[in-house]
């Protein structure tokens, strides 16, 4: 608990919690990062499932690099947001559920992208299941992310 209070009292924590624009700016960057990371990951999963099948799978997979940039933005903005309210967020179960879903989503999407680069012909059933699992996991990540604000 001391660590959480120390994070709140840090210069970044104080800037997020006390300045007028610190919190909304970090929140906006987090929303943009989410749109880039989840949006592109879901598009890649849909492509694995056969959506826009006229486009070669390997041609859209480079967008994973942009999704990773979205993740970097979310990691930075999310850390700043956490530091602004560390004492309460540190006890928020929805945040930990979101972290677990996020790690699972990133792992599944990374594996799916490797499939997208490798496979030339039809994807097999296992790969389609991987894409469906990735989409479900991203949806769960967003749901728990939204729940954070409603759990006290």
């Amino acid at each position: 608990m001391d660590i959480l209070f120390a994070l709140e009292d840090s210069s970044i924590g104080v800037m997020i919690s006390s300045s007028i624009w610190g919190y909304p700016i970090a929140l906006s960057l987090h929303a943009l990062g989410m749109g880039v990371l989840v949006g592109i990951s879901v598009m890649l999963a849909l492509r694995i499932l056969g959506f826009a099948d006229a486009i070669p799978r390997s041609a859209v997979m480079p967008y994973w690099r942009l999704a990773q940039a979205g993740f970097a933005l979310n990691l930075i903005s999310g850390t700043a947001l956490f530091m602004g309210s560390a004492a309460s967020l540190g006890l928020n179960w929805a945040l930990y559920a979101k972290f677990i879903c996020l790690i699972v989503s990133l792992f599944l999407t990374y594996r799916m992208v490797k499939v997208g680069y490798r496979t030339q012909g039809d994807v097999n059933r296992k790969d389609r299941h991987l894409a469906v699992a990735a989409i479900c996991s991203w949806v769960a990540t967003i749901i728990f992310g939204r729940l954070i604000g409603y759990i006290f």
Binding site: G35, F51, A59, V60
Partner: protein, 162 residues
Amino acid sequence: METMIDILSNSALNHFITSHSWVWPTLEMFHFLGLCLLLGSLLIVDLSVIGFAPNISLRLVDKFIIATLIGFAFNAATGLLFVVGDPGRYFINIAFRIKILLITVAGLNALYFTFRVRPRIQAGASNFNELSLDARLSTALSLCLWTSIIVLGRFIPYVEDL
């Protein structure tokens, strides 16, 4: 505007949204899912036109616009319900007003892309360099507008005193 706020505030839909604690967070979840569909697909279309993924044919990439439209439909429906659920908060909010203005401009830009830029792509322009200046501007404007719209949406609760 006062009349509109009164009508919406006394509607059955407003009562339903405000009297069930699960409705608002559920709407927020769908709004964010719609945002992801919209932005993710738009990034693939617009950045492909700009040349981020050169192996994607510009003639085929607009298949992803279906996902953009589905995402927009999600967001329009949930956004409308937000307004019905709390009209007094949204109608007077400067960030919300600018957001609606930019969505309108983005819609007009999308129409321009569909009826002026897309036919040129279908006619044979295969990369960014073969597109005219207005086509490049339309693509760049689309990315700037939707980025601004997302930021303004997040600012709505924080500019209520302005």
